[in-house]
């Protein structure tokens, strides 16, 4: 069997992820996390914070929850089912920062925790920042 032929054959013989079930679980759990976020937003709005303050305080609160659930070992158990439902919300970003921080503690606080904290989430910061600079430049010239 040639390589291409085998690759196609192996793919055919390998079970696929249950897409519809995964989509349903991602929708429900991802949606619920956003509802929770909306509750947090209302809480800070009623508290009298300005629009910008509400946005920042909501992010911080959701990040806190993501890190906490990661630390006590629950986030990965939800994510096993939720897939993108726990990956896409900002709690997933928090999980991807906290999990290497905890894992690499055994290699010390500087080269372990400090250096490895962004091994997964780093690209989000890098390309998010770069995209914002490009967007800023475009906006500067058309504005």
């Amino acid at each position: 069997m040639q390589k291409q032929e085998y690759k196609a054959y192996a793919e055919k013989k390998s079970p696929n992820s249950p897409l519809w079930l995964n989509m349903l679980k991602a929708f429900l759990i991802g949606g619920l996390i956003c509802v929770l976020g909306e509750g947090v937003r209302h809480f800070y709005t009623n508290w009298g914070l300005s629009l910008e303050e509400v946005a920042a305080a909501t992010s911080i609160t959701m990040v806190f929850l993501g890190v906490l659930l990661t630390g006590i070992g629950i986030y990965d158990n939800i994510a096993k089912h939720a897939g993108a439902g726990t990956l896409v919300p900002i709690t997933g970003f928090a999980n991807s920062v906290a999990s290497p921080a905890i894992e690499y503690k055994s290699e010390g606080y500087v080269l372990g925790v400090g250096a490895k904290m962004f091994i997964i989430a780093g690209p989000v910061i890098v390309y998010g920042t770069v995209a914002s600079v490009i967007a800023g430049l475009i906006y500067y010239f058309i504005h």
Partner: protein
């Protein structure tokens, strides 16, 4: 009513991510990069703001919302500080979330140990 929209819009944004995971070769890290970058440019062209108005946290909590904050921040900074704002605006607007992730994660590393899965 915003709760319902938050649920629906947030849920749909997650479902798109799930389809990308299961149907393409994109790894989770790549998907998150795509989300953030998409959020930035959708905001720049004015397409994301209506979604935030409609769904609130349903649009800001998913990582596209992180891109939304970056873009809104940079646009505001450009208006206020001109060219300098191009570099300062994005991270200023998202500083809270990033600093929270760093500080809370460090504290988590101090307190918690990595645990066995089963």
């Amino acid at each position: 009513m915003t709760y319902l929209w938050a649920f629906i819009v947030g849920g749909i944004l997650c479902v798109i991510g799930q389809i990308l995971i299961d149907k393409t070769k994109l790894t989770p890290a790549r998907i998150l990069v795509v989300y953030v970058v998409a959020g930035v440019f959708l905001t720049l062209v004015g397409a994301y703001e209506p979604l935030v108005k409609l769904a609130g946290a349903g649009a800001t909590v998913p990582l596209t919302g992180f891109g939304y904050s970056l873009a809104k921040g940079v646009m505001k900074a450009v208006e206020e500080h001109g060219l300098l704002g191009v570099l300062t605006g994005g991270l200023t607007a998202t500083a809270g979330g990033i600093a929270a992730a760093v500080v809370f994660s460090l504290i988590a590393a101090l307190i918690f140990k990595s645990k066995e899965k089963s």
